[in-house]
Assembly symmetry: C2
Homo-oligomer: 331 residues x 2
């Protein structure tokens, strides 16, 4: 689907040159209702790509960064990576008889995820380290690939890769058709995303930034491997996002897309540069087709960010109003 989008844009761009002006008749964002949000995206892209205009930005500087959870795919009833981790706990339980007595594992194995996660950040960290470390990078990649190919969402019963936002796929394709490099900048695990984001979003592994644990280089049976260690390397959230962007990309994005307070610093950093800048928040307002949550949610809280977006005139997408469909399968 991403590929076909691409083909359409390429065609449109080529044919305008022949005088047919097909590009104008093609809607680059067909799943968006007409309105301020859609128009703000098109206006920005038009401005930075118009040769000779004062807002023109050279292609090499057209960097756009996207949060993942809640911005490109859903994140309820809990981050999908956490569902992956919970599944791993169940699979690993036979090798860890001690987990029957030890929190947060004991509650998890009794099916009480809520109680397990009551331990907050510390509990999550324990679960992540127990399930994401202790194997080679290649082994972990295979675990993710297997899970993402088979696991189903508890509410929709869909594959998780089907629960991506069709309107945002169109934004990704539209930006790339206009010379942008698109990056993911997520609080989620960098190695959890890389095995599937290329086929789903068209974003190659080298354009994925995320949280990571440390790895160690070792020679095993005459072959080098990278072993995943139970130790945090980098947390790509809040203040970590501009830091991650700077380390990985080395230049400031001109456009950034998020949905929560965890993205606020990325949007601040992006919009503080010179020249045309674009910042967009996806606001979850659709309890029927997706979920509705913002200022008081424990997952994907959007509170300070919403105030700052309103004060600074950033684009705020109202899912319910602005999006014709949420998921590709609704088309």
């Amino acid at each position: 689907m991403i590929r076909s989008l691409f083909a359409v844009f390429a065609l449109g761009l080529t044919l305008t040159h022949g005088g047919l002006a097909i590009a104008q008749t093609l809607d680059p964002l067909p799943s968006w209702n007409d309105g301020k949000a859609k128009q703000s995206i098109i206006n920005f892209v038009t401005k930075v790509t118009e040769q000779g205009s004062p807002g023109f930005v050279s292609p090499s500087e057209r960097i756009a960064t996207f949060d993942n959870d809640g911005t490109l795919w859903s994140e309820q009833p809990m981050y999908f990576q956490l569902l992956f981790a919970l599944n791993r706990v169940k699979e690993l339980a036979p090798q860890h008889p001690e987990w029957k007595e030890k929190e947060p594992f004991a509650s998890l194995l009794r099916g009480d995820a809520k109680r397990a996660l009551a331990g907050g950040e510390h509990a999550v960290l324990e679960i992540v380290m127990a399930t994401h470390a202790g194997m080679t990078t290649e082994q972990f990649e295979n675990l993710v690939k297997d899970w993402i190919a088979t696991a189903r969402h508890p509410k929709t019963q869909r594959h998780f890769t089907e629960m991506v936002y069709q309107p945002m796929l169109e934004v990704l394709g539209y930006l790339r058709a206009n010379g942008f490099k698109t990056f993911i900048v997520s609080g989620g695990g960098i190695e959890f995303m890389r095995p599937w984001v290329e086929s789903v979003y068209g974003i190659p592994p080298e354009q994925v930034i995320g949280s990571s644990i440390k790895t160690k280089y070792e020679i095993r049976d005459d072959k080098p491997v990278l072993v995943r260690l139970p130790e945090m390397n980098f947390i790509d959230d809040k203040e970590g996002k501009p830091i991650g962007i700077h380390i990985h990309i080395g230049r400031r994005p001109i456009a950034a897309f998020g949905n929560s307070d965890g993205d606020l610093q990325m949007l601040q950093w992006t919009t503080a540069g010179d020249g045309p800048r674009f910042a967009l928040y996806v606001r979850h307002t659709d309890a029927e087709r997706e979920w509705a949550y913002d200022r008081t949610s424990s997952i994907g809280r959007l509170d300070k960010g919403l105030d700052e977006a309103q004060a600074k005139g950033w684009t705020v997408v109202d899912m319910k109003q602005d999006w014709k469909v949420i998921y590709p399968y609704e088309k």
Copy 2:
């Protein structure tokens, strides 16, 4: 010059289609003498780009990584970044009267770099932290840009960006013309390289991997900044190179280029993957046109790596024999 190389390749590739077969008559590596090293590069590129051949590699997997110091530019009589740091020490000395009594600064300020560096890694780290931290990332970028535009090499009196290897510039251009993404993977500072490598090597900032210090996100006068802290973040050398490659690129290179034991793990990691693989060591054998050093040098030592290259049949470039010219200004 890089741009004109590109144009030549593009022309060659286009015209072959018209039946003129100009590509065959154009030498992609004109500064290389005919011999095993040159032929091994051309054979590898031909193999992985030949549609339908068993060695064919899809463009997205054509990742090539290059060490910088001693592989793309010279590194004698000491790493050029260290010369930048020594210059910074002199500039900062008036603000640090205590340095007159304190090593390694005292020796440096008396012009005795050798004695200052006798403190080894610890001394170097002290110098780097004193000169590379304590400012914003933007301020540091400007310091590097100023220095690289004006400073001269103590022996050649050339700008440091002139002391890059013409034959390696040709390899970079040749690989990119054949669909490769070229990355730098250097023990040097990531922020020290990014301000100038795009114009010199044609490698954009997001394809530069290097050592780094930690940064901190702050709002100053209502504007976000990243402040450089006197604390190491990552050392991109030896075992660190495969780790840095994995974090930044997320896939294994199919070709890697280095010149020292510090690159050995990168070459091991690269060649341990499936399918066609290429590893190359530049050996500094030319005391007249450049420098001659290998097994016993304190800078850029090539000892274990040379043994492994010979055992595994990696390409070893003999600078004196294989390269018609060293620097672009000798052409």
